[in-house]
């Protein structure tokens, strides 16, 4: 049966149901089933919308390490200001509650839906259904909600109980607030005395006006303090070590969420990296570098194995204000491997 025919049959069936109201402009065209399937990927709390598939905790551990841990941490504990996905149990009534999938999210469908459509950050809609099941299983495991032998699938999905499922009430302001705060307000002698109890200036967390003046168009207020470390004595040109390149390819998995390299590589969250080695920093066209990187580039930074190693060891120390939200690559072997791997891709 042709797709068109199938659709008209479906539509014919639908029209027989009674609409509450219907328009008559005759604008638009019927959506095809393939189009609806491509865009309608939502998953409801009762599991409607879940595709067939499954993934276990251990597979999830691997996929998470490769695709999620750069921002969310190896154990879903979060890196820097990036969202923490695990922990925080029992903190919702504390001073600074930690809201994670385990401590706060009421529905597991939300995790599957969001990971599937929006993650990894900067490379959305690249995960297979099985990978999404695996990642979801791993996040549950990280929150002590399932054991390490757990496999999540479309069949057992709705059996998972979320700890904070009952932690929500529908907006009750109409009962708890509006009656209290309605009516003619006080105009005179409303208080005996007024004292200042807290000042913003004491806290001093407001972005500095003077810094903005230096760079009035870009609201980025980045201070660059550290100078480029002098490169050590010129190293001898290393011969290409295939083993090191291969090792670098593995290490590069940590970078892949944000950077592409190789044929057809495009800018993502980070710039594409073809030909990056031995090249001036900040020279990929059409990529919006941070002010911090631009300054380093203006100072003459060139990406060599040494400068790259220094940057990757602790990006935010080496380049205060960099947009690269990567915790760092501590192992010198890994640093060298990355440099060798990247050197194998020319422009």
């Amino acid at each position: 049966m042709s797709k068109f025919l199938k659709f008209t049959l479906l539509a014919g069936f639908a029209v027989s149901a009674t609409a509450v109201f219907a328009g008559d402009y005759g604008l638009g065209r019927p959506a095809l089933p393939e189009e609806i399937a491509a865009w309608d990927v939502k998953v409801m709390p009762d599991g409607r919308g879940l595709p067939e598939g499954s993934g276990d905790v251990w597979t999830g551990d691997e996929v998470f390490a490769e695709k999620c841990a750069v921002c969310h941490g190896d154990f879903a504990e979060g890196v820097g200001n990036w969202p923490k996905l695990a922990g925080g149990w029992g903190t919702l009534d504390h001073e600074d509650p930690l809201k994670t999938v385990g401590s706060y999210w009421p529905y597991l469908s939300t995790v599957w839906d969001y990971v599937n459509r929006s993650m990894p950050f900067g490379d959305a809609q690249t995960l297979s259904a099985d990978e999404v099941y695996a990642i979801t299983a791993y996040i549950l495991y990280s929150n002590n909600l399932v054991e390490d032998d757990f496999t999540l699938s479309h069949e057992n999905f709705t059996e998972v109980e979320m700890p904070n499922a009952d932690g929500f009430i529908v907006d009750d302001r109409a009962k708890t607030e509006y009656p209290k705060w309605t009516g003619e307000p006080c105009m005179e002698n409303c208080k005996d005395e007024v004292k200042i109890t807290m000042r913003a200036r004491v806290l001093d967390v407001t972005p500095d006006e003077e810094k903005a003046e230096a760079a009035p168009v870009e609201a980025e207020t980045v201070a660059v303090a550290e100078a480029t470390p002098e490169p050590e004595a010129e190293p001898e040109a290393p011969a290409v070590d295939p083993a090191l390149v291969a090792a670098g390819e593995k290490v590069f998995k940590k970078c892949k969420a944000c950077h592409q390299v190789g044929e057809g590589a495009k800018n993502r969250v980070g710039p594409q990296l073809n030909g990056v080695m031995e090249r001036a920093a900040g020279s990929v066209e059409d990529f919006r570098y941070s002010s911090a990187l631009k300054e380093k580039a203006a100072e003459g930074l060139v990406w060599t194995p040494e400068t790259l190693a220094a940057f990757l060891a602790k990006p935010r120390d080496y380049m205060k204000g960099t947009k690269m939200s990567f915790a760092g690559l501590k192992s010198e072997e890994d640093q060298a491997a990355i440099a060798a791997y990247l050197a194998s891709f020319s422009d």
Binding site: K42, Y107, R173, W181, T182
Partner: protein, 423 residues
């Protein structure tokens, strides 16, 4: 050779600084007398002798360079990355009620994407008689509506729950803008597809990687929601959802889905990330409110304020501010100069309009003494904007969203102002 005059190298900021210094000594400046003739008057100035720019020098104009500090600003410690982040409208430096698009705050969850009109498609599916796809050109053929509405992020003033934090109206209240939208009623578009009786909600999502899906109850969807393609007379800006965004009057900005690509009629809320893990308000006992869609009545004095100090010494002073309510029109705004002991009713520049910003003024005389400036809005339901203490009594400190408390600026004798909390 061009005689184009480029003007003095000055800025509004420098002007403010100079004036603030002068202001301190200029007490009693009401009847100033000139001692020496003003050279700006007595000497011919270059702008009065040579040419200005010809037409077409700037085919699409930007504000003059002296105003280059009137820009959106980011608070970089708030978020991990500017791709999923927010910046703030410079409300301290704007007047009237319409926010120019170029400085209206941005909130992205996966960056501001570039989507051409030719590539734009809007799908209506779910519990409808006929799932439909519209092009941009299709949308232009439906009857249009024009309305001015404010769009406020639910997190506006959210950094102030635990205490006075950010020193400027831009940062405390700048997650808001107010534009005149042109678009099609969502009701008209839903009717075109035919909503089935079991359709109780619409789920709306955008074309960006975040999709930012939200569930909206059918009652609201059929009421005043717009599928908008113009703002303030021109195309939406990229950062505000070009070519098409949803306008959900009076409700939290997160629901105003940008780059709108799909509207699904459903029988239940989808419970997306944005309506469960985010945009839910945690109370003191650890339970959280969900579906807190409406933005309650709120106001703020925009000038004087920390970024807009008094620079003219004592005498006539215009206290200027904004008020708005997601539950109807603003009917009254009161202003206090003493931290809430006594209040005076301000003048509304125009009668309040439903779900739109209202400008208020208190035309007063400043005695050069310190003030604890506050404003208090009332809307047509009779609701009175609460104090921060009142809000905390009900909600505690962890709600993040929907902080519509009365704001206090401590104006000092030198004209500077600071964000403070008072007893």
């Amino acid at each position: 050779m061009s005689e184009t005059f480029k003007g003095k190298s000055t800025s509004r900021r420098a002007f403010l600084r100079g004036a603030a210094a002068a202001g301190a000594g200029a007490l009693g400046a009401g009847a100033a007398k000139a001692v020496t003739p003003d050279p700006l008057i007595t000497e011919p100035q270059p702008w009065a002798q040579g040419f200005g720019d010809g037409v077409d020098v700037t085919p699409y104009g930007l504000p003059i360079r002296f105003e280059d500090d009137v820009v959106r600003r980011n608070v970089d410690w708030l978020t991990a990355d500017t791709i999923s982040s927010i910046n703030f409208t410079p409300i301290h430096a704007l007047e009237g009620t319409i926010t120019p698009q170029g400085c209206a705050f941005e909130r992205h969850h996966s960056g501001a994407i570039e989507l051409a009109k030719e590539d734009y498609r809007l799908m209506i599916n779910g519990l409808v008689d006929t799932p439909l796809v519209f092009t941009y050109a299709d949308l232009e053929r439906f009857p249009r509506k024009n309305h001015v509405y404010f769009c406020e992020c639910a997190a506006n003033t959210g950094m102030e729950w635990a205490g006075a934090q950010l020193n400027g109206a831009q940062f405390t209240h700048g997650m808001i803008h107010n534009m005149e939208y042109t678009g099609v009623s969502l009701r008209t578009i839903l009717a075109e597809a035919g909503v089935k009786p079991e359709g109780k909600w619409v789920y709306v999502e955008g074309a960006d990687a975040s999709s930012n899906g939200r569930s909206i109850p059918m009652e609201k969807a059929l009421d005043d929601v717009l599928v908008a393609f113009k703002a303030n007379g021109e195309a939406l800006r990229k950062e505000h959802g070009y070519p098409v965004r949803l306008v959900v009057p009076g409700w939290e900005g997160n629901m105003w889905v940008k780059w709108l690509r799909r509207i699904e009629v459903t029988d239940a809320a989808v419970q997306s990330r944005e309506e469960t893990s985010k945009y839910t308000d945690t109370l003191e006992d650890g339970t959280s409110r969900k579906w807190t869609w409406e933005m309650d009545a709120k106001s703020v004095v925009t000038s004087p304020s920390p970024q807009a100090p008094i620079t003219h010494g004592q005498g006539p002073l215009v206290i200027s501010g904004l008020a708005w309510s997601g539950r109807g029109a603003i009917t009254r705004v009161d202003v206090s100069k003493d931290g809430g002991k006594t209040w005076e009713t301000a003048r509304l520049a125009k009668p309040g309009e439903k779900m739109a910003l209202t400008r208020f003024y208190l035309d007063t005389a400043w005695d050069g003494k310190e003030m604890l400036l506050q404003s208090r809005a009332m809307d047509e339901t009779g609701y009175v904007q609460p104090t921060k203490t009142q809000l905390r009594e009900v909600r505690g400190l962890n709600s993040i969203y929907h902080n519509n408390c009365i704001q206090t600026w401590w104006v000092k004798p030198n004209g500077e102002a600071e964000n403070v909390e008072v007893s």
